[in-house]
Amino acid sequence: MSEDVQLDKVCMDFGSFRAVDNVDVTIQAGEFFSFLGPSGCGKTTILRMVSGFIDPTEGAVRIGGRDMRGTRPNQRPTALIFQNLALFPLMPVWENIAFGLEVRGVDRATRRQRAEELLRLVALHNAADKTVGQLSGGQKQRVAIARALAVEPKVMLLDEPLSALDLKLRQHMRSELRTIQKRTNVTFIYITHDQGEALAMSDRVGIMSHGVLQQVGTPQKIYNHPANGFVASFVGENNVFPGRVIASDRGAGRIETAFGTFHARLGPAISQGMMAKLYVRPEHTILGADPGGEANALPVEVSEVAFEGNFVNVHARGEVGGAYMAQVRNEPSMALPDVGRRLHLSFGRDAGVVLADEAAPRH
């Protein structure tokens, strides 16, 4: 069983600082939803409002349709996984997991049994009697998940729980979390500053900056159709050309920049005459000896070649100025371009998108 979470025009002020500004989004029951943003963007504040440690200054948090204002964390159908996990080091693993049941007056034998069931769910057999200190980072992670699941929450809140793990384990835990979420069908609200995590795990992602929700959408939508410049540059890499829109026709147009005039798609609310920026993904560019048949091209000189394994990042300086990056898929037969070589960076008229800067706070 799970419930939806409605953030209804939620604002949170700390003194004169507005940490969360008019966030309005409904997270569906059973959904894996991530709030993605840089540190200090207000995403942790959102989590604390949903879990009940703070109440919003304005607006309402509703879980399953019920306004949660005034309801303490211990009365809410949520369970929070802390960034540092906050396991109880003086209790053995099984008592950690069963703590929520102990609180609810469940007898000891049932608690023990339930803890062992949950340990199997998170693939941690034979750890019941260990102390927390004996576990590795990934194991602690699983205990924290099991402890939160034990209280059968309708909504699970996760505050960057993977940030302390090393890369390999992090990637493994991503799919594990996803699996557990699908199996239990609990609504997951996940907070992270790691775009890879958010895109890989979530049904939908909400991008936050300066307390404002910039865009909500599926990972694919966010990456391919960013709503504004902040979303485009926070999620993935870009070549950025600031300039002025000089032509606009049904979502397509031209932008005049210091490095040339380019054809591109126009983002939402972009019209002729506006100052805006053109964003082109490195993997949507082509590096060639001649300009080629694409709509846009500019001469560049290769400044650095970074071989990443499955792809190659080619950094280049524009002959008129500017620094660019092209991303090329690795092929066994490919010859890497030499540093100092003069090439043309070209991209199609649909490859780039002109976007306004981020949505600013209302005041």
């Binding site: 303490r72 964390p73 003086l90 703590f99 929520g100 609180v103």
Partner: protein, 270 residues
């Protein structure tokens, strides 16, 4: 090291000798004996005082704990760190005043025609003044006040080192406040609680100024008997024996309590 331990050895040596007149010291009667130690157990009045001292000290310790744990938690986790410094200063300043003055202050406050009675009568809470300083009341109030900080500081230190997320995690899992304290905060603070209790108990049982100022005629403190042996009876041998008995028995009592409450010595040293 020698300067610290030598007097103890001398006293221990005294305690094993019988009390003799000057001309007999070094004579045939001056042999090692445990007679001085046995005296306490044959003297029902002294032994009664001894037991009451231990019990009253234990009660003082308990009272300090009950007062200090919420205060320590408040200072460590609830109040803003900026204000905590001010509050600490307010707690510390009274301790710059010496023990005698503070005990006298309580003697005045608690006396029959003192300000406490005047205030209580004044606001109509009681009809006539109460004799506060009967029985062990005065001593207990005085000792609690005197040794409050010895309980507060170790508990404060140990609670402060607790990750606040653990308190929030417990609450998030549905725990009411009392259970969060019982299962998360107090187990973490156990070393602080234990060392606070040991200090307050030992200091209370060994205190002399507070009981002699605030004690009522019927309730003597064991230290007062020791003092009498030394300075009124001039019997240093007997006094030394009593002093050592107090030390041994208090240590024994602390050990027993630690065993019962499952506190290890290493916890206290932390």
């Amino acid at each position: 090291m020698i300067l610290v331990t030598l007097p103890y050895f001398l006293m221990f040596e005294f305690s094993l000798h019988p009390y003799l007149t000057v001309d007999k010291i070094g004579g045939p009667e001056d042999a090692y004996t445990l007679k001085n130690y046995v005296t306490l157990f044959n003297n029902t009045i002294h032994f009664g005082v001894f037991l009451r001292t231990i019990l009253a000290s234990a009660f003082v310790t308990l009272l300090c704990l009950v007062l200090c744990y919420p205060m320590a938690f408040f200072l460590a986790k609830i109040v803003a760190p900026k204000n905590a410094a001010t509050l600490f200063l307010l707690l510390l300043i009274p301790f710059w005043v010496n023990e005698i003055l503070r005990s006298f202050a309580w003697f005045i406050i608690l006396s029959y025609q003192g300000p406490l009675n005047a205030a209580l009568v004044g606001i109509g809470l009681i009809e006539r003044p109460i004799r506060w300083l009967t029985g062990p009341n005065g001593v207990i109030v005085g000792l609690v006040y005197t040794y409050l900080l010895f309980m507060l500081l170790p508990i404060y230190n140990s609670i402060q080192s607790l990750d606040s997320n653990q308190i929030e995690a417990a609450e998030d899992l549905g725990s009411p406040l009392w259970r969060t304290h019982w299962r998360v905060v107090m187990p973490h603070a156990k070393p602080g609680i234990a060392s606070g209790c040991v200090m307050v108990f030992m200091l209370s049982a060994g205190s002399i100024i507070v009981p002699s100022l605030l004690g009522s005629p019927g309730t003597r403190w064991f230290t007062e008997i020791i003092q009498q042996w030394f300075f009124e009876g001039q019997d240093w041998n007997q006094g030394s024996a009593y002093a050592f008995l107090l030390l041994i028995m208090c240590t024994g009592f602390v050990m027993l309590m630690m065993r019962l409450l499952r506190v290890r010595l290493a916890d206290i040293a932390k």
